[in-house]
Every structure is written in structure tokens, then in C-alpha cells.
């Protein structure tokens, strides 16, 4: 994919140079690059090596995916301000490296579950940007038919289990998904994502205990963006070392702004988990936006802090620098950016023209095969028999 783009980009070069350049590009796209990442902090386990091997092709894929996530979230911001998206909208920009690194280390047969900050998981698990945007705008072409909204995006085909509104409620669900993997003898893990705020929920410890008791293949990923809505981590947690809070369960702390560090650590964690059971990962990351679009994000942290993150630790810039220093032409990256912008903009425009879900969908999927039971409407004498989808295939 990156190779084709690179060759395409070379067509503008002077002819006699062309063959030589192609050969060089062909060789370098797959050539291994060794990158040193921040050493991992560990708890009750030996740290994986912090020298990560990658190549231009892989980095280009990372760049494309993270850039797509960034553009999507920025588009969601603009659409929210333009009132196409209503209600609560929690954006993921700044945290792209966490999800991108995770996806690079697992397969589509592994499962992911997360909180309400879930727009990017839908796309990384195979959903289209259009279906995401349509869902945010409440259209029937959306990922959950316009019924779920921002906080309730699911993708069964991609083994993405949502999309959960209540803080921490997804953690026991994730342990349950892992239980099912083990029950069926599948060599798959469940990546259970939650935030530093959710790390103080009691149900997390209940899930940790059971996962530990039964050696469930669950990877608890704490996306520590340092603020639980308006409360800083040190004001809500006696111990903000979230990777140690599994106690008897081993933990790894990762630089969550570095996609290579994340990928390496998650691959290590998956191998560990399939053999031994649960493991906790703490991703040191940051969200540029406030908790949601209703939160300015500046009353409890300084603009200097946010800007410092953007200039020093932005995950996309880091990959960009790596690509440029490994021989990739800045023009090629610009091309990718243009393509992604186009895809996102087109998806937004297409979503706007979507249709509202029809009125009878109010009752759709209340029950599986209700066998003729009727439900009452608002006014007396109104009865409806709810319909349901016999298959979930879209």
C-alpha cells in the first residue's frame, strides 16, 4: 500500500532517475529500522526489550491510520459546534497511538471493548468513517442505526464490543469476553480499555480478581490521560501508578504517545496473556480536547500543558519525523494527508445527507423474537409488536 503510493509519487521524477529511485524505494520500504523507545516500567514481570523493529511500510500505515483518527475527531468537533452532532461527544485526539499500537499487535479475532471515547475503535476494527459520522449525526446509516449515538458504537463483525456510557462498566464485560474466549478454546485476548478515572471503580477490582483466579486472557489497558473529567489523577487515586494496581497481576507502563512502544508492549502482553492470564497495561497518554465537547478542558489544566504535549509528544508528529528521517519524501506524506482529509470530508458530507431512522425503529430489537408480545404506547389503547433483526449482519 505504502509502496504503491511511493511509486506513484515518483512518476513525477525525471525519467532517467526513475528506475534508480524505484529500486531504492523498494528496498527501503521493507528494510528493518530499529527504534529505541522509552524503557518500560514493570510490576511483577520482566520488561520487554525497548528496541523495536519496524519499517517504512508499517510506519506509513500507522501514519495513515492515526491521521485518519485525528481528522475524524476534528471533524466531529466541527460538526458538534455546527450542531449536527448533539448530546455528549468524547474525542480521542492525542490518544491515537494507543489504539493504533494495540491494533498492530493483535488480530481482528481478538476483541476490544472500551468506554464512551470510542469513535476510533469503530474505524480501527473495520468500520467505515461514513458509518461513524452517520451514527454521530443520528442517521439510520450509522454504526448502530442512529439509536446509540456517540457513546454506543458497536461493531460485531470487527469484534468491537462498544461503546459504554457508564464509567468502568466495560471492565467486567471485558473479563467476560475473555472468559468466553477461554471457554471456547480460542487463542484470543480481550483488550479491555478504560481510563484513569475508571481505575478507581470497584468493579475493576472485582474483574481483576476473577481474571486472576481463572487465568482469563484479558489485557486491562488503562489509558491514563491524567484527568477523570475535571479531576486530576493525583486527586482521585491514592496510587496513580495504575500499572501496579492489579497487585498480584503483573503490569507494564508504556509511553502511550509512541505507537511503536505501544505495539511492542501489547504484542508482549498478548503472548503473556494467552499463556498466563491477565495483565495490566498503563498507557501514559493525553487528550487534547476536554473530557467531552461540554467541557472546555482548560479549567483544570493549563493551556501551556496542552501545547507542550502537542509540540513535544504528539504521536502523529513523532511517526512523521521517523518517516522523514528514513528517506520518505515529505510530498508523499502530504499525499496521504490529502487522501485522508478527502475521505473524512466526503464521509461527513455523505452523513449529513443521511436519513433519520424511521419511527417504527423505536421498537426495533427491544427483544429477540418476542413471540407476539405487544408493548404499550404513550396513549392508552396503543399497542406495538416490536420487530427484531434475525441476523446482525449489516
Amino acid at each position: 500500500m505504502a509502496l504503491a503510493a511511493a511509486i506513484h509519487g515518483l512518476k513525477g521524477h525525471v525519467g532517467s532517475q526513475l528506475g534508480h529511485s524505484v529500486a531504492r524505494m523498494f528496498a527501503s520500504a521493507a528494510a528493518p529500522i530499529k527504534v529505541e523507545v522509552m524503557p518500560y516500567k514493570v510490576h511483577r514481570i520482566d520488561a520487554p526489550s525497548n528496541i523495536v523493529e519496524t519499517n517504512v511500510a508499517e510506519l506509513t500505515d500507522f501514519y495513515k491510520l492515526m491521521y485518519k483518527m485525528r481528522r475524524m475527531e476534528i471533524a466531529a468537533d466541527m460538526m458538534y459546534k455546527a450542531k449536527f452532532i448533539r448530546g455528549f461527544c468524547h474525542l480521542y485526539d492525542g490518544q491515537e497511538a494507543v489504539l493504533t499500537g494495540i491494533e498492530a499487535a493483535i488480530t481482528k479475532q481478538d476483541s476490544i471493548i472500551t468506554s464512551y471515547r470510542d469513535h476510533c475503535q469503530h474505524v480501527s476494527r473495520g468500520g467505515s468513517v461514513l458509518s461513524l459520522m452517520a451514527e454521530l449525526m443520528g442517521k439510520k446509516e450509522g454504526a448502530t442505526r442512529g439509536l446509540g449515538g456517540s457513546m454506543h458504537i458497536y461493531n460485531r463483525a470487527g469484534n468491537f464490543y462498544g461503546g459504554n456510557g457508564i464509567v468502568g462498566a466495560q471492565i467486567p464485560l471485558g473479563a467476560g469476553i475473555a472468559l468466553a474466549h477461554k471457554y471456547r478454546g480460542e487463542k484470543n485476548v480481550c483488550i479491555t480499555m478504560y481510563g484513569d478515572g475508571a481505575a478507581n471503580q470497584g468493579q475493576k477490582y472485582e474483574a481483576l480478581n476473577m481474571a486472576g483466579l481463572w487465568n482469563l486472557p484479558v489485557i486491562f489497558v488503562c489509558e491514563n490521560n491524567h484527568y477523570g473529567m475535571g479531576t486530576a489523577e493525583w486527586r482521585a487515586a491514592k496510587s496513580p501508578n495504575f500499572y501496579t494496581r492489579g497487585d498480584y497481576i503483573p503490569g507494564i507502563k508504556v509511553d502511550g504517545m509512541d505507537v511503536l512502544a505501544v505495539k511492542n508492549a501489547v504484542a508482549f502482553a498478548k503472548a503473556y496473556s494467552l499463556e498466563n492470564g491477565p495483565i495490566v497495561m498503563e498507557m501514559d497518554t493525553y487528550r487534547y480536547h476536554g473530557h467531552s465537547m461540554s467541557d472546555p478542558g482548560s479549567t483544570y489544566r493549563t493551556r501551556d500543558e496542552i501545547n507542550a504535549m502537542r509540540t513535544e509528544r504528539d504521536p502523529i508528529e513523532r511517526v512523521k519525523k521517523l518517516l522523514l528521517s528514513n528517506g520518505v519524501d515529505a510530498g508523499d506524506l502530504k499525499k496521504i494527508e490529502k487522501e485522508v482529509k478527502k475521505e473524512v470530508d466526503e464521509a461527513v458530507e455523505a452523513a449529513k445527507t443521511g436519513t433519520a431512522p424511521p419511527a417504527h425503529w423505536l421498537w426495533k430489537n427491544m427483544y429477540m423474537d418476542p413471540a407476539g408480545a405487544a408493548m404499550r404506547g404513550v396513549l392508552p389503547g396503543q399497542y406495538v409488536v416490536p420487530e427484531f433483526d434475525p441476523t446482525y449482519a449489516k
Binding site: S150, H152, A198, G202, T231, P357, M375, R376
Partner: protein, 371 residues
């Protein structure tokens, strides 16, 4: 509101025939009239009124404290505790981590010793995580301890359907709490009653679950002064009438009044009662109204199945059957999770046009379809 009205009547003032109309102060109580005129009440928003109530009660009684998520330094997600931590300190305005079961339980424990915590649920739906603490400990302790311990706490927060907040944040769950023995349920609806009721709830020795509504925080109105404390068990007569009694609460009050505007133009004269006390029901006001109009409509945001209206309907049918000329009509929201899409969300809850239709049906004398 009625408490202060009754107080004014007792003091010899003429009370307004319809609540809301200004009264002409009696000449012989000149000093009081002057004071009343001087205390020019400005309009404030409901969140400010709630904040005033909390502030005044915390100042009056050092055992009153607040605990909840982002209530302190952040100022409260709906600003109901804005700036209070600066005045009262971090211990009295306690920022908790996100652990509803834990901090609600802590609130109950503190209340058992005599403190008066106000536990804030950022959304009443989140308090489902604390249901055991609310039911078993908060509700039952006074009884099961043989009267030794009381739990004078207030559990407050916004519930109800907002603007496209999604299913998990748009729950109307007054009904989930109503069967808990030992708790009182109160729903405020106007700026005035919000402040007066919250003050009463804080002073009450019983555990009060205080329902606010996510869409009412910016409603404007006049609030009472620091001595205006409402009666927690009294319903509010919003509009006196003769054709039909419409019982409602919280945001549905505004939906009903919107329907009433239209109904009045069509020549109807409905009586509107804001229940205020969802548990126990103010049977005195309710039965007085039904005996007058002989027809009852309940308009609520709760679900059809097992809602507050379901309980009220049963009570009315059982105890006022012979006073009714028509079966109770109950308008409730549908038994579905609140969808995100605007149109479906609107179809889930009661709209004012449906209230109009219900009144026309019950008063117009048409034979209704079998329920």
C-alpha cells in the same frame, strides 16, 4: 411553596387566588410590606437556586457537607456547587473518585453518625451502581436498627431525558427507587420550589432522593429567601380548574402547561397538580382535586411499566374509584431505551400534543379504546 403561602395567610395577608399572582400587601402591616418591596427578587437559574440552598444550609449547619464527582474544584458538572469549596474547604465539599457505590456508602456511614451529607450523582443513572447502598443501608437502617440510627442524607442529581444524550444517560428512573422502604422521593420543577425543597430535604432527618432534571437547570425564576423552606410531602397546585385533574412532576409540568395553553384556547379548564412528593403521595391534595373534577390524567416521564404513574394510578383507582367518572388515563414514556436520534427520542417521551389529545378524550366524553 404552599408552606410559605400558608404562613402568609396565617399572618393575616391576603393570599393570591392563583399562585404566581402578586398580592396587595395589607396597609396595617406597613413595615412588612416595606421589607417585602425592598427585597427585590431577581430572576436566577435553577442551578443557582440549588446552589443557594446548599450554601445557605451549609452556613447554617456545620454538619451539612457535599460529596460527589467534580463537585469541588470543577464546580459541579451542572454548577450546583460552584465555588463552594473555596468557602467551606475540601472536606465539606468533597471531590470523590468515580466510585458511586463507594461514596454513596460513605455518605450513608457518615449520616449514621449524625453528619448530613448531600451525595451528588452526576446523573441519577450512575447511582444505579449504588443501589444496594441506597436500598439496604440508606433506606432500611432506621427501621432495622430499631430506630437507633437515622440516615439524614440527601441524594440528589439530574435524571430524565435530555437532548440526545444516549440511552445510558437518559434514564428516567424515579420508579426504580420508589419501592425502597424508608426513603422519600421528591422531584423539583421550578426555581422557587427547587430551592425551598432542597433546603427542606437537607433539614429533614429522613433520607431524601431529590430528583432534578437535566433540562431544567437553566430555567429562570424567582427563588425564596433563606427562610423559605417547603413542605416535602405537599403537592403544588399549579393551576386550578374544573374539567380534569392532570397530575405531573418535574419537566413534564412544563409540557403539561404548554398543552394547557392550547387547551384553554379550545375552551377547556384543566386543573394541574405538580406532585412534588413522589413518595409518599400527597393524597389530601390529590383526592381534593379528583373529587372536584372527577377525571384524572397522569403525565410523567417515567416508563409505562412500573412508573410513578403506575403507582399513582393504582392508588387513585383503589381509593377514589367512586369519585371517578372515567378511568385514569396515564401518559408515560415508552418502555424502550432512549434512542440517540432526535426523532426517536421525541417519540419516546410524552409530547404536549398527546396531553391535549388525552384531555379531549377524557373530557370530550368519547368512549375510549380498551386499555
Amino acid at each position: 411553596m404552599l408552606a410559605s403561602r400558608n404562613a402568609r395567610v396565617a399572618a393575616g395577608h391576603r393570599a393570591a387566588a392563583v399562585p404566581g399572582l402578586r398580592t396587595v400587601p395589607a396597609v396595617r402591616s406597613g413595615r412588612r410590606a416595606l421589607a417585602a418591596a425592598k427585597a427585590q427578587k431577581k430572576e436566577i437559574m435553577m442551578w443557582e437556586a440549588l446552589r443557594e440552598a446548599i450554601d445557605e444550609e451549609m452556613e447554617r449547619d456545620p454538619t451539612v457537607c457535599v460529596m460527589g464527582e467534580d463537585v469541588g474544584h470543577y464546580g459541579g458538572s451542572y454548577k450546583c456547587t460552584l465555588g463552594l469549596y473555596k468557602k467551606y474547604g475540601d472536606m465539606r465539599v468533597l471531590d470523590t473518585p468515580i466510585c458511586e457505590n463507594g461514596f454513596t456508602g460513605m455518605g450513608v456511614g457518615a449520616a449514621m453518625t449524625g453528619l448530613r451529607p448531600i451525595v451528588e450523582g452526576m446523573n441519577m443513572g450512575f447511582l444505579l451502581l449504588a443501589f444496594n447502598q441506597i436500598s439496604n443501608n440508606c433506606g432500611m437502617l432506621h427501621y432495622t436498627s430499631g430506630g437507633q440510627f437515622k440516615t439524614p442524607l440527601v441524594i440528589r442529581g439530574p435524571g430524565g431525558v435530555g437532548r440526545q444524550l444516549g440511552a445510558e444517560h437518559s434514564q428516567r428512573l424515579e420508579s426504580y427507587f420508589q419501592s425502597i422502604p424508608g426513603v422519600q422521593l421528591v422531584a423539583c420543577s421550578t426555581v422557587r420550589n427547587a430551592k425551598a425543597l432542597l433546603k427542606a430535604a437537607i433539614r429533614s432527618d429522613n433520607p431524601i432522593i431529590f430528583f432534578e432534571h437535566v433540562l431544567l437547570y437553566n430555567v429562570k425564576g424567582e427563588a425564596g429567601d433563606k427562610d423559605e423552606v417547603a413542605c416535602l410531602e405537599r403537592a403544588e397546585v399549579v393551576r386550578e380548574g374544573a374539567d380534569v385533574s392532570i397530575f405531573t412532576y418535574s419537566r413534564m409540568r412544563y409540557v403539561v402547561m404548554q398543552a394547557v395553553n392550547e387547551l384553554v384556547k379550545k375552551g377547556y379548564n384543566p386543573e394541574v397538580i405538580d406532585l412534588i412528593s413522589l413518595k409518599p403521595f400527597d393524597m389530601e391534595t390529590i383526592s381534593k382535586s379528583i373529587k372536584k373534577t372527577r377525571k384524572a390524567i397522569i403525565v410523567e416521564e417515567c416508563m409505562k411499566t412500573g412508573g410513578i404513574g403506575a403507582s399513582l394510578s393504582a392508588v387513585i383507582n383503589e381509593s377514589l374509584f367512586n369519585e371517578l367518572d372515567h378511568e385514569v388515563i396515564r401518559l408515560s414514556s415508552q418502555d424502550v431505551p432512549t434512542a440517540y436520534a432526535y426523532e426517536l427520542e421525541a417519540a419516546t417521551i410524552v409530547q404536549s400534543s398527546q396531553v391535549v389529545e388525552a384531555v379531549e378524550r377524557i373530557v370530550g366524553g368519547r368512549v375510549p379504546a380498551a386499555v
